[in-house]
Symmetry: C2
Subunit: 137 residues, 2 copies
DNA sequence: CTTTTTATGTTAAATTTCCTTACATGCATT
DNA sequence: AATGCATGTAAGGAAATTTAACATAAAAAG
């Protein structure tokens, strides 16, 4: 729980995040606009990102490089969020499945179509998916 | 060693550091000028601080609140740096003691005089000495 | 008890970074 | 051919940061 706080502490400015992720600021703002991340703001309205935000951005980048579109990314992050919420409160809560934004059929079709690609491009000198987790234990 | 990289990765802008440490930017710059920290710079000449920098600033703050002056802080950080350097390369290196900037007598006198005070003031909502270490394992 | 040093505050001007908005565009999808 | 998605780019303004200078209270030195 104290870990939760650390992961969500607003620490990084836009410039550092673009360096860390090698995303353009345009991309980062677009992803925020699409509801994929929720950085807080300074008094002067500038974005401050947390470890979690950077982590999500790396996941988003990874997925989009595989051809997944925003809708797909949104769906996958939503699932992951649910998992984490479950882990956070381990009470076995009998709950009817929350309706996904997209039907299972739609999502399946979507992913099936998109996962037939594979853009490959060497990368380094910045964070890659999974590398961030080492910042905490 | 990979840990060393993480600890020294330039991540934080001035604003975040002043929030984290509750030091004024003036203080942070002064401590840099005195050689206590060495933040790197962006292309545009703005400071970028690492975890290590923030950690040192918290130590500096803690010491100065106890009345230790810059010279004393400098000495104590130097000692700690030596320790860490030793731990990093555990080769039993027979080395004659490096001459301190201040003689032992001077330092002793200095600390003895200064440690007779104790400014107490409640603090919260920011990092305190030792709290930062949890960001890594 | 003056004088000097230390550590920090404050202000100003210049520079850099970031913000929003708007328009442009290549590539898929329809 | 027309539309939508994801991103680039440019303009204008606001916020954050920088250096340099001057001010000052408290401590140290003489």
């Amino acid at each position: 729980m104290s870990d939760e706080i650390r992961r969500n502490m607003p620490l990084f400015s836009m410039g550092i995040v673009t360096d860390l992720t090698e995303l353009s600021s345009r991309q980062v703002r677009y992803y925020e606009q699409q509801g994929l991340i929720r950085p807080v703001r300074t008094k002067g309205n500038q974005r401050l990102f947390s470890f979690n935000d950077v982590d999500r951005l790396l996941q988003i980048k990874s997925l989009m490089e595989k051809g997944v579109n925003i809708a797909g990314v949104k769906e996958m992050l939503r699932e992951k969020d649910q998992q984490q919420a479950q882990e956070a409160q381990p009470e076995p809560q009998p709950q009817e499945v929350t309706k996904p934004d997209l039907s299972d059929a739609e999502l399946h079709k979507l992913l099936k179509r998109q996962l037939s690609e594979l853009g490959s491009r060497p990368n380094q000198s910045h964070l890659i998916r999974g590398e961030l987790s080492r910042f905490f234990h």
